[in-house]
């Protein structure tokens, strides 16, 4: 089994936290993994991305080759499209929050973005912000998107939940539960499609 994931968004939206949780779950499952991420200057409101590779065999490159990514997991719709050259044209999935984060003057018209998503065979574009808020976890958009993507990750939801416990344990039970609820709510979206 081998799965290549790009997690993306804008600095501060939690894309890198999601990457850390998948990595932890994969490590608990005894899989090989490599995860490359953006640090430094570009985190200041710029686009951030993480290449996450999981496999039952040793992995060579830290970066995913173009055209081979299985899942693009994005907390922002335009950011998901930035990584299309990496997506596997036939079998790849895009799972993305549909709400734009507009911090640039030339953010494109949403109709253009929606039309582009329609061209992609496998995608889930949904209002993850709303689901996060409904679960009293306005900051949990990233967990909702991760929950929706979990259906295609090849990692059981309970493994991800354990990883959330390990990652957020220090912050107390309330935060752990809020994030687990967000994960489950996201998964329910994917299951209902």
């Amino acid at each position: 089994m081998k799965i290549d994931i790009i997690l993306c968004g804008v600095g501060g939206m939690g894309a890198l936290s999601s990457a850390a949780i998948i990595s932890q779950a994969a490590l608990d499952m005894g899989m090989y993994m490599k995860q490359s991420e953006t640090h430094g200057m570009s985190q200041r409101g710029g686009d951030v991305q993480s290449h996450l590779r999981l496999s039952d065999q040793p992995i060579a490159s830290d970066l995913i080759p173009q055209g081979q990514c299985d899942i693009i997991l994005s907390v922002e719709p335009m950011e998901a499209l930035r990584y299309l050259p990496f997506l596997n044209k036939e079998s790849g999935w895009i799972i993305s929050n549909e709400n734009p984060f507009v911090n640039i003057p030339n953010y494109p018209d949403m109709d253009l973005i929606l039309a582009e998503f329609k061209k992609i065979k496998n995608h889930i574009l949904f209002d993850a912000d709303k689901i996060a808020k409904e679960n009293n976890n306005a900051k949990g958009t990233n967990m909702v998107v991760l929950g929706a993507a979990s259906k295609y990750l090849g990692i059981d939801l309970d493994k991800l939940e354990n990883a959330v416990k390990e990652s957020f344990g220090k912050k107390g039970e309330d935060i752990v539960n809020a994030n687990i609820n967000a994960l489950r709510a996201g998964r329910a979206v994917a299951d209902s499609i």
């Binding site: 490599k34 490359s36 953006t38 640090h39 430094g40 490159s61 995913i64 973005i113």
Partner: protein
């Protein structure tokens, strides 16, 4: 067996803790910062009393590391690639003194300039200084190489350069830890009292000794577990793959063997006998280097009249930027998968100053105060405030190297630019701005320096600044007239008052320092979080 999930940077840090490190010395710089931060946050490092505070700059850091090595203990210095420029003096001269306790210099290069102003390849520095270089291809190798590097440093009596690049620094993988960690060295001053006295008479002798060590270093490279010659049947081409370039090569043959002979290269000086074997047996050689063409140039020579050598200097690989699996696949002339194009409407999202950042208020006030004098009067520096070069601020006209705001503004003032303004951050000021300010005072140049004090080293992610609480006394001590050291609070409500103060100092025909002081928001949020966690 202890298995950890670590960034390349963290693997180096853990490796050092386990290899008997006594101190790490560094100034923050992407992509190297996390090495020192990991040691600062490590309980184990605290228990072992490993020193890890940030230094003022890379030169003071490297010299302190050399001092710890002088005293017989194992020391590590870390920086981003351009940090080696700052520390070039101790770097080159410490190859002549050599090391006493194990000494590793880590340089984290940034090809493609993700967070940098150039993409210099630190291997050239290692070659220049005749020092051995280690270039890991995996996080596990990074961990293992620290042990190996310290042992090697003590065996040869030389500092060892460890060179990584952004993808190694900031990529995470599982690392198996050694079962036991080594004790720290006891203090022991050098047996030869002349070793660190670089009087010409000693330096001439030791330089010859350094050159005499090169055969041993080359032999160590040829025998190294980190360098492997992997033979194959197709001799049309041999491939030399350095550091993580080896991973990109193997990615293109995932699940199978590379059909061409491969030299996986992670230790320098270049293992000549292995390269010679490849040159003799193969029709041509492809060189894959993450960075600038060091080995490719050596192999081509000036006239390039030997066998065909391919890489960045012909059209096989792009001349600049970091490598990728696809770039390497193309260089191998393989049929590689193509993805979809990025839709043309996808807009770049450059980094920008955070909403509410104190620098915004500082630049808005400066822009208004300087407007009557016209454009091109503000020279600046390296930090978050460099982003003021972009719209909507368009406030600064230079960013070259740490500290250059003050000294370039001085030179421009001496050419007649008036007013001449230097804008620098608090941490950059104590890194390399203080000596330039002394030059200004000695020459009494008409200049206005703005030291943006946000209480922290901001751009690299909130590291303690050596300047905190000291800026006014430093400026006064250097010789700035107290009446022209002005502290302002960059807030919207103070805008008019701040504009007026800046105008007064722009008009003053001597050295003045304005200190806009307000805490970095990212740092303030982190402090609140830490306070909350401490309560729990």
């Amino acid at each position: 067996m202890d298995k950890l999930l670590l960034l390349g940077d963290e693997a180096i840090a853990q490796g050092a803790i386990d290899a008997g490190l006594s101190g790490v010395f560094a100034y923050p710089g992407t992509p190297s910062t996390e090495i020192t931060e990991y040691i600062q946050d490590s309980k184990e490092a605290h228990q072992k009393s490993i020193r890890s505070n940030w230094a003022c700059n890379e030169k003071t850091a490297m010299e302190a590391a050399l001092g710890m090595s002088y005293a017989g203990k194992r020391a590590m210095f870390c920086c981003k690639h351009v940090g080696i420029n700052m520390a070039a003096d101790p770097f080159l001269n410490s190859s002549i003194t050599g090391a006493n306790g194990g000494l590793i210099y880590v340089a984290a290069d940034d090809p493609s300039m993700h967070s940098s102003q150039d993409e210099q390849d630190s291997r050239f520095y290692g070659d220049f200084a005749f020092l051995p270089i280690l270039e890991p291809s995996s996080q596990q190798e990074a961990y293992d190489m620290v042990h190996y590097g310290f042992d090697m440093s003590e065996k040869f009596g030389l500092p060892v350069l460890m060179r990584i690049t952004t993808r190694m620094a900031h990529s995470r993988a599982a690392v198996v830890r050694k079962s036991s960690s080594r004790e720290q060295n006891k203090m022991k001053i050098p047996e030869d009292r002349n070793q660190f006295i670089l009087l010409p008479v000693n330096a001439r002798r030791q330089y010859k000794e350094l050159l005499a060590k090169q055969d041993g270093l080359r032999k160590a490279s040829e025998d190294s577990v980190f360098n492997q010659y992997i033979d194959a049947d197709n001799k049309k081409m041999g491939i030399i793959a350095c550091g993580i370039a080896y991973n990109y090569l193997m990615e293109n043959f995932s699940g199978s063997k590379c059909p061409y002979p491969v030299l996986k290269l992670s230790q320098y000086p270049v293992p000549e006998s292995l390269v010679e074997k490849m040159y003799n047996e193969c029709e041509s050689i492809l060189v894959l280097e993450e960075g600038q063409p060091l080995i490719e140039r050596l192999l081509r020579g000036l006239l390039n009249k030997g066998k065909k050598i391919m890489g960045r200097l012909d059209d096989r690989l792009e001349r600049t930027g970091e490598l990728s699996p696809n770039m390497v696949g193309k260089a191998l002339q393989l049929n590689i998968a193509e993805g979809l194009d990025v839709p043309s409407f996808v807009a770049p999202r450059p980094p920008k100053l955070c909403d509410g950042c104190p620098h915004i208020d500082s630049f808005l006030a400066l822009n208004e105060a300087i407007e009557p004098y016209g454009k091109g009067k503000v020279l600046s520096d390296i930090g978050c405030y460099t982003l003021a070069a972009l719209p909507p601020y368009n406030a600064i006209y230079s960013t070259v190297d740490m500290g250059a705001s003050i000294t370039m503004a001085k030179g421009a003032a001496e050419a007649g630019l008036n007013p001449a303004v230097g804008v620098i951050g608090d941490s950059t000021f104590t890194h390399s701005g203080m000596t330039g300010l002394l030059d200004c005072c000695v020459d009494n140049v008409p200049i206005t320096i703005m030291i943006l004090d946000n209480d922290i080293t901001g751009m690299t992610g909130s590291q303690k600044s050596s300047a905190t609480g000291r800026i006014e006394s430093i400026c006064k001590g250097i010789g700035v007239d107290e009446a022209h050291i002005r502290v302002i609070t960059p807030l919207k409500k103070n805008h008019q008052e701040n504009v007026d103060i800046i105008k007064q100092e722009l008009a003053y025909q001597g050295v003045s320092v304005i200190i806009p002081r307000r805490e970095c928001l990212v740092w303030a949020a982190k402090k609140r979080k830490m306070a909350k966690n401490n309560q729990n």
